[in-house]
Structures are given as structure tokens and as C-alpha cells.
Amino acid sequence: MAQMNMIQALNSAMDIMLGQDPSVVVLGEDIGYFGGVFRVTDGLQRKYGESRVLDTPISEGGILAAAIGMAVNGLRPVAEIQFADYIYPAYDQIVSELARIRYRSAGEFSAPVTVRTPCGGGIRGGQTHSQSPEALFAHVAGLKVVMPSNPYDAKGLLISAIEDDDPVIYFEPKRIYNGPFDGDPHKPAVPWSTHAKGEVPDGHFTVPIGKAEITRPGRDLTIVTYGTMVHVSEAAARNLGLDAEIIDVRTMVPLDTDTICSSVARTGRCVVVHEATRFAGLGAELSATIQEQCFWTLKAPILRVAGWDTPYPHAFEWEYFPGQARVAKALKAVMEAS
């Protein structure tokens, strides 16, 4: 075991996969010589060479199309889109192509591509470096969609994604690359070494795609969340003195409804928390699914906490960000409902 932050954990996952499987290649903007703008691919090109860790033009559509072609020819590409905000030029290749190649060719062709992309705000990135577009991908049939909330899961899920024979869109909440974040930007940064999930095995291991995790068992209510908001939600519940059961969704598609719904069936109360905008966000799907399965055991309406339905505003970041106050308000409302 080693202490790792998320950047090191992701780097380790790619290092291991590049080392053990000659079909794995990594490509993206600034990811080779420079090691990536967030250093996630640092050192990989030196170790595995320029044709397996490939610097590309600034062309997200080209990166995705090339990755698809490579995958059809037997490689396992890991494509980095430098910021999730830049993924839209590649959307057609992801939605119309990557997601459907197995289906439309009746299984004769497939494209096991992993698309890694940093997402989320809290880094003063403004509206083009802060978005959380996971729902746009979760809505597409044929894509697996993943977002880890800690270094251990980051490594285990990325290895699973690369080994998966289906395409995986892998979101990395960049605010927590270097340490967990409880939503308070005025507190000093906390490193991952303070967190149990900062302990990561050096070698190969997997965290299964399709499995949520109960990160904290509790009896008062269930908080269903993922990414950065796992940590914000934990802090908000703790500060209210609530015995909250916290579920880290980890995989949005395929969704682990059993873990989520059996928890809500026990607690009878549920808040869904994510950073992305609220309207038609993943929270809508989660609360509808939970309501359908748990209606008769619910003691209160399911509430959603999310980003406001505006673009991500540069100067008003902390009024926009769904911090502890917004989460706490929903937790109290759900606890107070009879």
C-alpha cells in the first residue's frame, strides 16, 4: 500500500495497464512529453514511448474518432479530454459512434475506449473549466459512465474501465485531485494522506463498474451522491449531527439501484446531491428511480441538491457551488418532514 492522491492513483492505473497490456495506448492534448495539464500522465511517455503515449492536436473530435478506429483495430485507447467542458466537439463521435458500434454491427465490431476527463468546479475555472456534463452521457444508451470520489476508487475504477470491453466515460472531479474537499473554500487544503481512501495498493486491483458504495452507514437518512459532493455531503451531515447513510454512486451507468434503494427502504428519507445543474440532471433519474421503488417506505419527499440552472459563473463560484449550506438545508427539510 502507498499514499496516493487521485492524480497519482490515476497515473498508477495507466502505468500498470500500459505495462501489462501492449494494446493499451494513451492519447490526448499535452499528455505526452508534458504529462498532462493536471500531471495525470506524468512520466508515462518517457516509460512507454511516443507511439503509445501520444500527444495529439487540439481536436477532441479527432481524438475520439482516432481512438475509435484504434479500438476497432484491436487497441485499448485511453483518450484524455483535457477538460470535460471541451468534450462537445467529440459528442457526435461518442454518442453516434462509440456508444453504438457494438449494437449496430450486431456485435461484430466493438470499441473498448476509455474517455478520461476532469470535471466539476471549485477551482475558479469559470464557465469553460467547471462543468459537470455527466447526465449528457448517462442519457446515451451504450455508454458506461463513472466518477470516483477518492484515490482508491480512482485507480480501481480506471483499471476496470480500461479492461472493460465497452466504452467508459470516466469523469475525474478535479477539485479533489489533491485532497478531499468539504465545500468550504476558506479552510486550508487537506491532503489525501488524511483520508483512509488515500491508501492505495501499488499493484493491479479493480473496483467493479456498476457497484455503488456505502461510504458511511447510518440510520437517519440516505444521501445519494458522487464525486466531490460525497465529501461535502459527509461534512454537512456531520455538522448537523445526523447519522446519515452516505452512498457514493461511483457508476452512473449501469446504476446500482439495489444498493441505493435498499438503503432508502431502511432509512425512509433521501437527499440526492450533485454538483451539476439540477434540471434533467442525474438527480432527476435517481430520485425518480428511488421514488418508484421506495414510495411506500418514504417518510418525506426526496429532495435534490444541485448546481443552479445557470452557466458556471466565474465571480460567483461559491454562491453557485452546492456547498454545505445548500446540502444542510435539504437535510433538515427531509428530517423535519413527518
Binding site: 479527432g62 478506429g69 457526435d92 450486431a106 465490431f109
Partner: protein, 413 residues
């Protein structure tokens, strides 16, 4: 006078009621363009990208340095592939009109592009076609029956009922799945070729798009990545003059050729008479050797004409002269190869008629067999449960539940 900007809207040379006008097409005489060594730097292919490589002259003789010197037997095989494409297209068009299939797209007038290229490439080379490349399936030996079953979405449909007619695929024949979204396959072919180079294989990739869809960003992604990584790929713009109703000038062909974009990107560009089987074959051989020997990609513009409607949902009489094709200066690819063979004393009108009849009978018989496996409206029918398979490699729980709901909804059928 004050100078000011004016929006330039490309002119379409002829609309319904006008006489066909192809004066905009720059032609070169057969045999006129030099054939450089395949190792020539991309920048030295400008004359090829602006001229027109042609082998068959007005008297149907093969002339000049691009003559691939194929023997008569190979030419007869080529004619057969082109003719079966045409006969198949005609028959499927009529069947669509009778309501047995929902949709069809003919490659009438463009048969030489697919047939010559597929013949000049190796069977192990990977093809990323558009929806008007049916000739490649015949060259690589896919039975017409299989294509018909796809068109019918029947119990032997290779796509298991999931794709519009003509969106074929064939893994064992090294032909990629057709999307239906235009141009997406173009940069994918480049990625495939990059992987071949990474793995050190000597296979190459080829892809085709129309001049209309070359306006998509995917075209530019393909040329950029092909250029940057010198991918072993042949990228083809099939300039058939029309994107449904829109003339090629609106896709950017008014002041420069599509092939000229190749040298602009640092890759070789060749403009070829797409209705000249021998010229297409020779240019493909040249580009393939270039790709296979590490000299990188080639952009080929095939100058041809979409003699058919865009699809069975289209009526070209509404936007171009009825007799437009009759005025097209590059003629008909089947007629030209036929006349060449006749000139060599290796073919005759009688043999041509006999071959046409043989192919028509073969296709009619295959159709009779194909409908026995069902049609969109008549049994036997594919199991609708197939809609839930292959979304993922393993069916996840939510799809299992939905499949069960669908069964319940349809009474377990």
C-alpha cells in the same frame, strides 16, 4: 463608388429546365498527367490534385503512364462486379417501390469507384465505406443474399434488425459498419491506420465520403490526423457533384478541387476520373504502395456523377435537369470499361447481354430465397428481444428488466 463586401453565393450551373452545363469541370486528356514515384513528397503532387488522372481515352484505349496494364481476365471480373452492382441496385430500387423494403440508395454511375478500389487493395486492408459503396461487398465476395436480408431486416439480417437498409458491415471481409451519420467513418479510418502503424502491420485503411459531407469537421479531423501521424490510409472524396439537391460548389468545390486540400494538409492529393475503372485502379495502387511503404496518406478525389436519386426518398427532377447525366463529360463507368474490353476484342455486346441476364436471374433467385427468411411485414420475424442485446457486451440489470417489460407488453411474443 464605395467598395463594400457582398455575400457570394455559389452558382449552380443548371437547374430544371436548363441545359446541362459542365463547363465548370476542369478536365485533362487521358494519359496526359505524369505518374510520379510513390515516394514523391506531398507538396509535389499539386499537379495531380488539380489535374485529372485518366487512362481511357475517347477511343476507349488505355493510354499513358497511369495504365495499370491489367490482363483481360481481370478486366472482365471488374466489369462483372460493376454490372452486378448496377443490376442489384436496379432490382432493389424497384423492390423498394413495391413496398417490400423501406429505403434504398443506389450507386448508379459511381460503380467504378468502389469496384476498382476494392480490387486494387488487399483483402486484409480495412475499408470504412459510406452508404454508396456497395461494390466493395461484391468484390470481397459477400453473397447478394446476405445484403438482401439486411435490406429486409429479416431473420438473417446481419444487423439483427437494428439498422436502416444499406447500412451493412462485414467483419470477416474487413468492412466496417456504416453509420448513417455522415463522415464519421473518415477519421475512424485514420485511427485504424494509426493502430496498424503502432502495431507494425502492413495493412492499410481506406475510406470514402461524398464531396457534400467533406464539409463536416470529421473530414478535417481525418486529414489533420492522417497528416500529423503519416497514417497508412487512403482518404477518398467521391465528388458526384450533388449532395441531395446541393451542388458541389456549396461544399467548397467552386474555386479549388477537393483533392487540392491534400497538399494543403501536407498529404498527397490526386484527382482522378472516377468513371474510368483503369484510372481509379492505378491511382489506388499508387496510394496503397505509398501508404504501405511509410510515405503516408493520400487524398483521392473521384470525379463522378450521382446518376441516381440521392435515395428512394428523393426526386432529383425537382433540382437538376432531367437529362443532366447525359451531358456529364466523363460518361458511364460500365459503358466505358465495356467498350474498352470490346476494343481489345475481349468482350462483345452479346456477352454483355448474356452476363446481364445471368446476373438478373441470379439476383431474382436470391431475392426469392431472401424473402423466405422474412420481410419487415411478413414472417418469420426477428425476436424483438434482440433490441436489448449488444447495447453492452453483458446485458445490465436495467435492460433485463426492460426486456421483461417489453415481453409482458407484447404478450410474451
Amino acid at each position: 463608388m464605395v467598395a463594400h463586401s457582398r455575400l457570394h453565393v455559389p452558382k449552380t450551373p443548371a437547374r430544371p429546365g436548363d441545359a446541362p452545363d459542365f463547363s465548370y469541370l476542369k478536365l485533362s486528356a487521358a494519359g496526359k498527367l505524369a505518374r510520379p514515384d510513390t515516394a514523391v513528397p506531398a507538396a509535389e503532387t499539386r499537379h495531380l490534385s488539380e489535374g485529372l488522372v485518366r487512362v481511357l481515352d475517347e477511343g476507349h484505349r488505355a493510354v499513358g503512364p497511369w495504365n495499370p496494364h491489367l490482363d483481360a481476365q481481370e478486366l472482365q471480373v471488374a466489369l462483372r462486379h460493376m454490372l452486378v452492382t448496377r443490376v442489384f441496385d436496379d432490382r432493389m430500387q424497384r423492390i423498394q417501390r413495391s413496398g417490400k423494403i423501406s429505403f434504398y440508395m443506389r450507386s448508379y454511375g459511381e460503380e467504378a469507384v468502389s469496384v476498382a478500389m476494392a480490387m486494387a487493395l488487399r483483402p486484409s486492408d480495412m475499408l470504412f465505406p459510406s452508404y454508396r459503396n456497395q461494390g466493395i461487398y461484391f468484390v470481397r465476395g459477400r453473397p447478394v443474399l446476405d445484403l438482401m436480408c439486411q435490406l429486409l431486416s429479416n431473420t438473417r439480417d446481419m444487423c439483427k434488425g437494428r439498422q436502416l437498409p444499406v447500412m451493412y458491415h462485414w467483419r470477416d471481409g474487413n468492412i466496417f459498419s456504416i453509420s448513417g451519420n455522415l463522415a464519421t467513418q473518415f477519421p475512424q479510418a485514420v485511427g485504424w491506420a494509426m493502430a496498424a502503424a503502432i502495431k507494425g502491420q502492413d495493412t492499410i485503411a481506406a475510406s470514402w465520403i461524398g464531396e457534400g459531407s467533406s464539409a463536416e469537421a470529421d473530414f478535417h479531423h481525418a486529414l489533420l490526423f492522417a497528416s500529423v501521424y503519416k497514417a497508412p490510409v487512403i482518404l477518398c472524396v467521391v465528388n458526384n457533384q450533388w449532395a441531395i439537391s446541393t451542388f458541389q460548389g456549396h461544399a467548397g468545390g467552386e474555386r479549388q478541387t477537393f483533392a487540392a486540400r491534400g497538399p494543403g494538409y501536407g498529404i498527397a492529393g490526386v484527382r482522378v476520373d472516377g468513371n474510368d475503372f483503369l484510372a481509379v485502379y492505378a491511382v489506388t495502387q499508387w496510394a496503397a504502395e505509398r501508404a504501405r511503404t511509410g510515405r503516408g496518406p493520400t487524398l483521392i478525389e473521384h470525379v463522378t456523377y450521382r446518376a441516381a436519386a440521392h435515395s428512394t426518398s428523393d426526386d432529383p427532377a425537382r433540382y437538376r435537369p432531367k437529362d443532366d447525366y447525359q451531358g456529364f463529360p466523363l460518361g458511364d463507368p460500365v459503358e466505358r470499361l465495356k467498350n474498352h474490353l470490346i476494343g481489345l476484342d475481349e468482350w462483345s455486346e452479346e456477352r454483355h447481354q448474356a452476363l446481364t441476364k445471368e446476373l438478373e436471374e441470379h439476383i431474382a433467385a436470391s431475392w426469392k430465397e431472401a424473402v423466405r427468411y422474412g420481410t419487415l411485414t411478413d414472417p418469420p420475424r426477428l425476436d424483438p428481444g434482440l433490441m436489448f442485446e449488444d447495447v453492452f457486451k453483458e446485458m445490465p440489470e436495467h435492460l433485463r428488466r426492460q426486456a421483461a417489460e417489453m415481453r409482458e407488453e407484447t404478450g410474451g411474443k
